[in-house]
Symmetry: C2
Subunit: 366 residues, 2 copies
């Protein structure tokens, strides 16, 4: 048996008990709400996690990129939705190959030129491409404007012989991290309303809308209020992170509906009176948030980034100064880009490493 | 022939002409200064780059971590110096295996307990560990205090049968990015002086000091003024980045002694009147600096991070609005953690991809 303490540091650890409870809670939530979930695999990029999400009732997984979807499909995961438009000609060809092997794969579109390119490639390759119209709901990222523009694009998709209109997607990323549940609820329902209106418009015009996908971990218990939404795309709920925990939940100042299941374990490799250095720096944690990693049940220290490979622990309690060789776990600020730094995740139950899962789609942003 | 425009995006590109000139310039510089260089491989984690640095005259490469050194040694690279203390018992065992295969490998030490552990393990494994005393020169990272404390630790190393005292290391990371060459020169010479004094102290006490290692790309033409320094550890010079370019050089407001040889190529995947989205976000670029990636010879746009997989281009010139499918290259803010996001780097000369090099030590922070 390999112990949690035997893993070389820095390493990514997944607490299996917490992870399993997170999956079960989300499954019960969407079931009770009469919705579905296609969790975002960009969070973890790990086929084994995707398989477990599907075993817990998910429809499949959303993939941020084609490359991520190729890895998931290669690992036997089905029910894929690629949530970024596939545009370069070489990528469109790869998409056709992917769909030939995994025909239920869906893509999103927000541009007529891209729709025509997909239609031509699909016809040439003898496949049918399932497409959702990506509707802009305020994140200022991708998506066609709701209403008439979305309708026009949906008609283009529906009219192309080698395309199949599956419905709509709208990701209101600007709402995911709004602090405070009430404020977040107001923001998300307002942002998503035009998507629901677009759904109604398409249906009035006789276009099929089987799927309306959206939502995040921050709005998982908000967007289910939307009658027109069919499936959530939340990703981070499976492991959580400091960023999502601090946005607050329905019941309190922290979002504790899902448990913090992901940590990075580091070792103290140098000690001095005013500091101790751990072997985990900005190649071991995401650095895109304005707050640092947080020590897990290890009071008396504060972590600060100190270069590629080092974190500086400032001792706050003279009785609990870090010792040379001490192992300390930290919650990463942001789970998605932290997963993306590691080739594997060590899966622990208590003190025991039960498995090592490949983060096989790591780096596959292409 | 694969063209630069055929590479799936986002991808990491290395401009071979610029890279080769950077290597030649640094080689000429250290030769003229009567010094040596053991470039930091943490910048690139790529054995092929290490081999080319050594072919250009480098003594070997510095590795931030044991895991990085294991990959380099496995690829046949010799002359390794591991610049972070190797502390956990499992890592100490791995180090002995590494040294058995690559006996000229060096480590750094800053703690008596660690020295004793290394000495015991080396004796047990029948190897000799070459060690430099890591001296704290103000970076508040690793290192024993200069002077008496460093001397005592050097004595401990010199007195251990299975250890061999190679000399000293001092990394003044706080000076590497001081803005303005004169200010940086003053800061670095002041910071490094105690290291030189420690060298003199050890020599007076009869301890051998063959190597005194230190310096960065920011101080490459400053630290060579230090008579007692024997080798530089600069890393970023081989490809440069936005961060190092902006610190200024001896001759001007930008550090242009080395050329910007590393880019990330991205594709525009969505366009709207007020924005265009590229497929490269915070999984495609380092995010540890307070400034964004910089478009290369592509005026009229400004890049902003917009999530894991997206960058938002704000058009600043209506005549040069990004087009769907347009490929745009960006200089990454910080080269080291950007290399660490990619499994490979595409090596280009003009429009032609000449090679694809594995970033084989990517993720090997352990």
């Amino acid at each position: 048996m390999i112990s949690r303490d035997d893993v070389s540091t820095p390493a990514l650890l997944l607490d299996l008990d917490r992870f399993e409870r997170n999956l079960a809670r989300m499954a019960a939530h969407v079931r009770a709400a009469g919705k579905q979930i296609r969790p975002h695999a960009k969070t973890h990029r790990c086929p084994e996690i995707a398989r477990r999400q599907i075993a817990a009732g998910a429809l499949g997984v959303a993939c941020a990129k084609l490359g991520e979807a190729e890895v998931m499909a290669g690992a036997g995961v089905r029910g894929l939705l690629i949530t970024t438009e596939v545009v370069p000609p070489g990528s469109v060809r790869r998409l056709m190959t992917l769909i030939a092997g995994a025909p239920d794969t869906m893509v999103v579109v927000d541009n007529a030129e891209n729709v025509r390119a997909l239609a031509a490639a699909a016809a040439e390759h003898g496949v049918v491409v399932n497409a959702l119209v990506d509707v802009h709901v305020g994140a200022r990222r991708t998506g066609v404007e709701p209403g008439a523009a979305a309708l026009a694009l949906a008609r283009l998709v529906a009219g192309a012989r080698a395309l199949r209109l599956g419905g709509l997607q709208g990701y209101a990323g600007q709402c995911a991290h709004v602090m405070g549940w009430k404020e977040r609820r107001a923001a998300s329902l307002a942002a998503m309303t035009p998507l629901m209106e677009t759904r109604a418009l398409l249906e009035r015009e006789g276009l099929p809308v089987e799927i309306v996908a959206g939502g995040s971990t921050g709005t998982y218990d908000i967007d289910v209020e939307l009658g027109g939404l069919t499936e959530l795309q939340a990703g981070s709920y499976c492991v959580m992170d400091v960023d999502y925990r601090r946005i607050g939940g329905r019941g309190g100042e922290m979002l504790t509906d899902f448990e913090m299941a992901l940590t990075v374990v580091a070792t103290v490799v140098s000690v001095a009176p005013d500091r101790a250095m751990v072997d985990a720096g900005l190649k071991a944690f995401s650095t895109d948030k304005p707050f640092p990693p947080e020590a897990v049940e290890r009071p008396g220290i504060e972590y600060g980034f100190a270069g590629d490979e080092h974190g500086r622990l400032t001792p706050r309690d003279p009785d609990r100064a870090p010792r040379l060789g001490e192992r300390i776990e930290f919650f990463p600020p942001h789970c998605d880009p932290t997963f993306n730094l590691y080739d594997r995740v060590h899966v622990v139950r208590g003190s025991r490493v039960e498995a090592v899962w490949d983060i096989a789609a790591r780096g596959r942003s292409d």
